[in-house]
């Protein structure tokens, strides 16, 4: 299969969800396949509940770390409203979105000062922004794997399962197997992610 070069993936989430690790897994898998990869990250406020975003660009060339607006081939959304916030800038009518629909509420929502929009409305709007969307509850699947914190690995599995990026399931699984902490939980989580998309296909 021929992929656009650069192939652009944007990950949208909240501090503490592990997008830095996920983007590294995808990057390592792409490098293992002979690609150049650039990852641009914004994580200054990561540990304090802020929005975090990673850009992953897979190319044959030495590309820059930032994806131009409306030029992402894939949005990996770790949180619904972050997916919408970031998707509105980077998606285009032919891109794909894979979104964990399990919310992480902003502080003002938690304390009852602001309202979180309905999940259906978020999904509806995301649908209008791209050509295909896969939704899943990755936190639930991570819990099934043994630890809600491996949600990010479920999402990497979902990315692999969708078969739309230049990195494939086998290479990604090999990268996951290199994780030292909670290796088996991560492998289970990865495969649950792959399967979730298969069911969605």
């Amino acid at each position: 299969m021929k992929y656009d070069d650069p192939f652009n993936i944007v990950i949208a989430g909240v501090g503490g969800q592990g997008n830095v690790l996920s983007s590294r897994l995808v990057a390592d898998a792409a490098i293992a396949k002979g690609y150049f990869v650039a990852i641009g990250e914004t994580y200054g406020a990561a540990q304090r509940g802020g929005s975090v975003m990673s850009h992953i660009r897979i190319s044959k060339h030495d590309v820059g770390p930032l994806i131009p607006q409306h030029s992402a081939h894939l949005l990996l959304g770790f949180e619904p409203i972050e997916a919408l916030r970031v998707g509105a800038k980077f998606l285009n009518p032919s891109s794909t979105a894979i979104v964990n629909m399990h919310p992480v509420y902003p502080i003002e929502v938690l304390t009852g000062q602001l309202e979180y929009p309905s999940i259906n409305e978020v999904e509806k709007r995301l649908r209008t922004l791209c050509s295909k969307i896969y939704t899943l509850d990755a936190v639930d699947l991570a819990q099934q794997a043994g630890d809600p914190l491996v949600m990010n690995t479920v999402m990497v599995g979902a990315l692999a399962g969708a078969h739309i990026t230049p990195v494939d399931v086998i290479v990604l699984e090999q990268e996951i197997a290199k994780i030292r902490r909670l290796k088996d939980v991560n492998l289970t989580a990865f495969n649950l992610g792959v399967d979730a998309i298969k069911k969605n296909l």
Partner: protein
């Protein structure tokens, strides 16, 4: 860091710089943590013992730079790394030592600028400051160059007796890309102090200044005019020449490619000071239009425009850039801005999607609530600020809070408790001034809030000033036993060194007592009543007051809990006792993300997945509705 020659690894720009220093055979590395520069020293610390490199977290950047200078004076290769704000801190010493030179060793600075101020309180540009300080300035554009430029910087420094600065920006420092490892040079050297070296600028500093300019001119002619670090790509006589440096070069390249412009040339300059004058003038003669596309300040733009006065009027191109409004003078440049600026000059437009789609997409997130930054659950700063907030409230709203930069800067979002927030230690100096204004009618009590690492970094002179000049400012030190904001680097209060070894501690309260504060109180912010009372008492005292709020960072507590496989204590709200909507003190006023408001029952709820078990909410609740859940 430790891979073999020829290995291709993926890492941060900072990882590449650290590896470059390792390959250059650096002997001495000093730094103060600051985003986006901290990983450079952290990397070197991991290999320091095996590689025989001395590594230290200095108390501030000025000391780091001076310590590195000392090592260079004895013939070693020394490096100091810092964020831009740290570079501001070293300027006086830098300009002095630039005249003197650094003896037989090599002295390299790495300065990380933070355009957009992603994790800073100011934007700024180290390039013009490097020029102003008469040091050599280099800037890489790729991860590979970031690694390769460091050994070159050391060579230049040693060969010409100059200080070499390598500038990077956040997008290089904190992006990841592959780079190929080179050979690690083994430069075992002995430190020897040459008593005959004139390591000062007296009696005629201006003559030393003149000598320095001679050295810089030599570098310009012998090294930079023909340097292969400066790249030109495009036709021999382009219709438009784009001049750029650093990571912005990548944006320009991609934009020119996307716009399919064949007659545009790109000049990437990596040797930023002294600028290769002849090479640049030669390029200017071959085009009629020039666009400067650079991060932060119009450095190349102003320098090259002034060089261009040497050209005859008919060979002077027309210049575009920040000075003409074609590139913004603030914020970060990126690929979108490159597309916009270049397309505008070429009377083109570029969009990856149709106009209707772009307009629709713009409105799509209008249902998304903002995500304010807040203290982590279990963070000791929350009860500290809550105590200050409550004490000021009890004091009829009187109490001005000054501050600076660290995790505790989030105090500006916490009911606006912190009213001003600037550079490291600034809050103490400002409080010192505010506390002397009663003769002009300002009677309000003043509180300076400062973090533990910042306390050592930049507060000591201002603390002495408070005591010496009898300012009535109250100093609150928020001691969480780490430089938490930048990634938990140790500091003089922790008893640990950069390499994790046990070292001497400098206890904060003893420093405060030694300076002469009449009252120094250490409180645990988790003890809410004592904290509020201590602040309130200080607000109404005539003695000079210092309060140390001591409790380690919640993320450290969590890490230790995980290691010991301990569970987090669980708390619950007794719904019958909760006053509901009429109160909301735990969730809205104390503002803990784990004190969730349940809109259906209109009662508070402890969200156990978010709760870190600090238990402060038990004391925050005025109705005794929150309890520890017994196993």
């Amino acid at each position: 860091m430790t891979g073999k020659t020829g290995d291709i690894v993926i890492g941060l720009g900072n990882d590449a710089i650290a590896r470059g220093a390792f390959e250059a055979g650096v002997h001495f590395a000093a730094a103060y943590p600051g985003t986006p520069s901290s990983e450079i020293l952290e990397n070197l610390a991991t290999i320091s013992k095996d590689a025989g490199i001395y590594v230290e977290w200095s108390v501030n950047e000025k000391v780091a730079f001076e310590a590195a200078t000392a090592a260079a004076w004895t013939g070693l290769r020394a490096m100091a790394s810092m964020k831009l704000n740290g570079f501001f801190v070293i300027l006086d010493s830098l300009i002095n030592i630039a005249y003197t030179g650094h003896g037989p060793g090599g002295l390299v600075l790495v300065v990380a600028d933070d355009p957009f101020a992603h994790s800073s309180t100011t934007e700024g540009d180290a390039r013009p400051l490097g020029f102003y300080s008469d040091i050599v300035v280099l800037e890489p554009s790729t991860h590979q160059e970031a690694k390769d430029i460091i050994p070159y910087a050391f060579e230049l420094s040693e060969k010409h007796g100059v200080i070499v600065m390598v500038r990077e920006t956040t997008r290089l420092a904190h992006s990841r890309a592959p780079f190929k490892l080179g050979k690690v040079s083994k430069t075992k050297r002995t430190a020897t102090f040459d008593y005959n070296l004139p390591l000062h600028n007296l009696p005629r500093p201006h003559l030393r200044h003149g000598d320095l300019h001679t050295r810089l001119d030599k570098i310009r002619v012998e090294e930079f005019e023909k340097s292969t670090l400066n790249l030109y790509d495009g036709p021999p006589k382009p219709s438009l020449l784009i001049i750029t440096s650093g990571i912005a070069w990548k944006y320009v390249r991609e934009a020119v490619d996307l716009l399919q412009l064949k007659d545009v040339g790109i000049l990437r300059i990596a040797t930023l000071s002294p600028l290769p004058k002849a090479m640049i003038l030669d390029r200017l003669k071959k085009t009629s239009e020039v666009l400067f596309f650079e991060e932060v300040d119009p450095y190349l733009e102003t320098q090259i425009r002034s060089l261009a006065t040497e050209l005859s009027s008919n060979s002077t191109p027309q210049f575009f850039g920040k000075l003409t409004g074609h590139v913004p003078v603030f914020g970060e440049v990126d690929i979108n801005q490159a597309l916009k600026s270049i397309a505008a000059l070429k009377a083109l437009s570029y969009s990856a999607a149709q106009k209707e789609y772009v307009n629709m997409a713009k409105d799509a997130p209008n249902i998304v609530p903002r995500r304010l930054l807040t203290f982590c659950t279990g963070c000791p700063h929350r009860p500290t600020y809550y105590s200050i907030y409550r004490a000021i409230k009890r004091n009829k709203g009187k109490g001005i809070v000054t501050g600076d930069i660290g995790c505790y800067s989030l105090g500006v979002f916490y009911h606006g408790v912190m009213q001003n927030q600037h550079s490291m230690g600034a809050g103490v100096g400002i409080a010192s001034g505010l506390g002397k204004l009663d003769q002009f009618g300002l009677k309000d009590p003043i509180i300076a809030v400062v973090g533990d690492s910042t306390f050592y970094h930049a507060c000591l002179p201002a603390l002495v000033n408070i005591v010496y000049n009898q300012s009535k400012a109250i100093v609150c030190v928020l001691d969480n036993n780490a430089t938490a904001m930048t990634g938990f680097q140790p500091h003089p209060g922790t008893g640990l060194s950069a390499t994790g070894d046990v070292t001497s501690t400098v206890p904060i309260e003893r420093v405060l007592q030694g300076i002469g504060f009449q009252s120094v109180t250490v409180v645990d912010p988790f003890n809410l009543k004592e904290s509020i009372d201590t602040v309130y008492k200080a607000l109404n005292s005539d003695k000079s007051q210092a309060i140390v709020f001591r409790r380690e960072c919640a993320l450290i507590t969590n890490r230790q809990r995980r290691q010991r496989q301990e569970s987090i204590p669980m708390f619950m709200v007794e719904a019958d006792k909760c006053f509901g909507d009429k109160c909301k003190i735990c969730s809205v006023e104390f503002n803990c993300p784990a004190c969730v408001w349940d809109n259906e029952s209109d009662k508070a709820l402890i969200e156990t997945t978010l709760c870190n078990g600090c238990g402060v909410c038990v004391d925050v609740c005025p109705h005794q509705a929150i309890h520890l859940l017994e196993e």
